[in-house]
Amino acid sequence: MAITRSAPTRRLPRIVVVLLTAVLATLAVLLSTAAPAGAAEGDPYRISGLITLDGAPLEGVTMTVDGPGGEQTAETNAEGRWEVYVPERGDAVYTVTLDESTLPEGIAVIDETGADESPNVREVTLGQISSVVVNFFLGEGERNTTSFLDQFVERVVNGINFGLMLALASIGLSLVFGTTGLSNFSHAEMVTFGALAALLFSVTLGWPVWVAMPLAVALSGVFGYALDTALWRPLRRKGLGIVQLMIVSIGLSLALRYVFQMFIGGGTVQLPGVGAEKIPLFGAVRLSVIDMASMGIAVAVIVAYALWLTKTRIGKATRAVADNPSLAAASGIDVDAVVRVVWIVSAALAGLAGILWAYFRPGIRWDMGSTILLLIFAAVTLGGLGTAWGALIGALIVGLLVEVSSLWIPADLKNVGALVILILILLFRPQGILGRRERIG
């Protein structure tokens, strides 16, 4: 008994060591070349301006600055001055928006040339200087306003984009939960890993995007395999309960998160092509080529995943294991092999979601995955824990909710709506939209 059991355990670490070494070595390349973009707190660079009307300062005009480091708002003070601090310079693009509804009656931002359709929105880059001044010319004129319906449609399109990205991550989490019962908190770090792998291939090594991105997804899959082999399978064999496994995943999440920070620092790093020109489509909807490609890729991958799950042998076996592991084992399905495939698929989907998330935010940060972890959990719970399609529906609802709700609530509270829904759904329909009652036990 002792001999038969020790044989596989002695063989395993070697594969694992090789895989983990490969992963760490590639990340080490990243460490040596990718420079941290800036400090996390007390951002060093300044965007500021002075708002005056016929020489008199205007107080209480709201400015919004969006770009790497997130959206910030500022109000002009009694001297008409406003400023925000941002983490990046160089090519980083910041969009400065003057909220015209905070201007006096009948006053708007004007553009003498008339070429600019929205003169109250400016894009600035800092280049090599550390502070930049943005000025707007005010005068009597027609305000640049978007009708509510147009804004709504724009948010819906954004929400679908975000929801599809979220769906990729949620499907993986749901798959792992369905087959192993694990609420995997380290899923967030698998999302970040995908973005980091894309950064490694496309920026550090400078490979073209169409090579780098598939490779990054593949490396994410390898990462999932390595984690299963090194950690989760031995722990399953040891017979750990699901609560213990959940806390192990929390420890793993903490450890990985700070390992990532050791590699890329506390700042934001960009993938190539971020800030591409947005093409006006209809109404107020403006999408860049990257937005459209990202939605297309997400839809294609989800369809492929659906076919895999329903048509292939291994996909059917996966559903059997999710339904009843003991029965599946008794009917000759190799549960361990299925779970290994599930980890690879889950990590690869999470990695792809990470790349898309890096473009949607935009920017790569060491804790970017953990900022959407709870939204992923909300999506999975909303759809029904452990169901195959619930995660997809849940993710689309959460994505739409987060984006559309920001029409009414402040932008820094937009995630709150989704989390409140998560709590409410557990109150009224804990099995989720598609879940079965028995699962809530």
Binding site: L235, V243, G251, A255, R257, F377, L426
Partner: protein, 326 residues
């Protein structure tokens, strides 16, 4: 490298308000998880209730310090009820997800610019100490010896925190040897068996959630008394740190949480002094001193995994009284 200085800084950490705050939070979490088996992942939310409840009462409503403490505790009770009603009937991991989500909702509400005049948004709150310090019975002067030398304003929150910690430990000790404590531990071991004995399991779980939540909130309060209130302190990682401290000491023990919190912060202080020093003398050639600070948290994560796998009962726990029911 000044080794004596490092040791002195490390020793001083034992009496830091944050250590006392974590000890209190871990005692509260022990009531939740160690004794009742509730997977509360919203420790940071409970601590935020105590801290913000206190600071907002003083700053916005001008309440005296003792009333503000009671408001912080009341906020934690409300938070526990709001969390408990939907989730305590459900399976354990649902409670984990809901509590972590609720703690994030609380943090985002404290962080948003929309309530800036009350919550201070990203800057947090400070400048609420006057009334509490006026109640300080210590005459002015510097007291203590060795690394533990503080003036009267620094001693007062520490002494106050230690008294609260002692009261909390005493309360948990008394509760757990009472019939109430036996029912609670019974729920942890086998909920259905306790239900078969005619006990209202939901009600007992709710009582445990409230009691533990109050102790967690007092932890947040003690930290607020010693420093200021900052929303960045109440991230989910703080919850995970308290869990690490609890599991290290022993989840189902009276003194384990206190020991775990002290070890957690002493090791943190030791490494945060030692690692940059090692980088400076070239013993860690692959790291910058900034990266060595992140290494500390990598080690916390690794320690959490190792404890759960190899020593789930913790340092002071009894292997027979395992806290993880399969």
């Amino acid at each position: 490298m000044n080794f004596l200085q490092i040791l002195s800084n490390t020793a001083a950490q034992i009496l830091d308000p944050i250590t006392i705050a974590y000890a209190l939070a871990a005692v509260g979490l022990a009531v939740h998880f160690g004794f009742t088996g509730l997977l509360n992942m919203g420790v940071a939310g409970f601590m935020a209730m105590g801290a913000y409840g206190y600071a907002i009462s003083v700053l916005t409503f001008g309440a005296p310090w003792w009333l503000a403490i009671l408001v912080g505790i009341a906020a934690a009770v409300v938070f526990a009820l709001v969390l408990g009603i939907p989730t305590l009937r459900l399976r354990g991991d649902y409670l984990a997800i809901v509590t972590i989500a609720a703690a994030e909702v609380a943090r985002l509400l404290f962080l948003t610019g929309a309530f800036d005049p009350v919550t201070g948004s990203a800057d947090g709150l400070s400048g609420y100490h006057t009334d509490f310090r006026a109640a300080n019975p210590l005459p002015p002067g510097t007291y203590g010896f060795g690394p533990w030398q503080y003036n009267e304003t620094q001693w007062w929150p520490r002494i106050f925190g230690l008294v609260l910690l002692a009261l909390a430990v005493l309360l948990v000790w008394a509760l757990m040897r009472s019939p109430w404590g036996r029912v609670i531990k019974g729920i942890r071991e086998d909920e259905d068996a306790v239900r078969a004995l005619g006990k209202n399991v939901f009600s007992y779980k709710m009582q445990a959630l409230v009691v533990g939540g109050i102790i967690c909130a007092v932890g947040g309060l003690v930290n607020a008394l010693g420093a200021n209130v900052n929303p960045g302190n109440f991230m989910t990682s703080q919850t995970f740190f308290v869990w690490t401290a609890l599991l290290l000491g022993g989840a189902a023990t009276i003194f384990g949480p206190v020991l775990g919190a002290v070890i957690f912060w002493v090791v943190q202080a030791f490494l945060s002094n030692l690692l940059p020093a090692l980088v400076n003398i070239g013993w860690l050639p692959f790291l910058t001193s900034e990266q060595s600070q992140m290494l500390r948290f990598v080690l916390v994560g690794a320690a959490l995994m190792l404890i759960v796998v190899f020593m789930p009962q913790g340092l002071l726990g009894n292997k027979k009284e395992l806290t993880f029911v399969k």
